[in-house]
Symmetry: C2
Subunit: 115 residues, 2 copies
């Protein structure tokens, strides 16, 4: 195991299978998954149709697949309303809320790109 001081903190080399960063990315590691989580962080609860509308460019098929994966990973939860017409909404779980610091850092970096 190699350790290097890089800047103000220490990242540690792990075999890739034991790497916490890879573990995190295995759960959230696509742009669409990040953006779905971001939507729910901003709005708390959203219907499927609202997420689809907000994420310009995502296909309904991709959205459904990503939502299913995020639900299986316990990052989001789904609530089904047996109304007429029926609808489904999504929100972050308590576990999913733990992702917020990652998004704040992504946002800070993204702002430097835009300035």
């Amino acid at each position: 195991m190699t350790e290097t001081n890089y800047g103000f903190t220490k990242l540690t080399r792990n075999p890739l299978k034991d790497c916490p960063i890879e573990a995190a990315l295995n759960l959230i590691g696509t742009k669409w998954s990040f953006l779905i989580i971001m939507e729910l962080m901003i709005d708390g609860t959203l219907r499927y149709s609202e997420i689809l509308r907000n994420l310009e460019g995502i296909s309904p098929r991709t959205l459904s697949a990503k939502l299913k994966l995020l639900e299986e990973s316990k990052i989001i939860s789904k609530k089904i309303y047996a109304e007429v017409p029926p609808h489904v909404d999504y929100s972050l779980t308590e576990f999913g809320e733990k992702l917020e610091p990652i998004f704040l850092e992504l946002k800070k970096f993204g702002i430097t790109l835009q300035n």
Copy 2:
């Protein structure tokens, strides 16, 4: 524009094209790109062959494509050594180093997954 207080901080809704989080993800938004950056954060400078070996499962073609994109985005820089045999190494730019806080948060979250 909607603003919601979510937990201890504020995320702001932007049209997706103006969203800083999307801007950040457009630069680094695949798992392999994240992991390449992570490798360079840990080791400072790495040869192509070292990155290929460390990132188990990446194909040489994908690695080359991702390195090219990261270089075009000014996140990494390439140095070519006109030796025999010639070799190429990669390191983060000063700009790329600004990504470190994102990785530290990914790491913290990843550790919670592993415990």
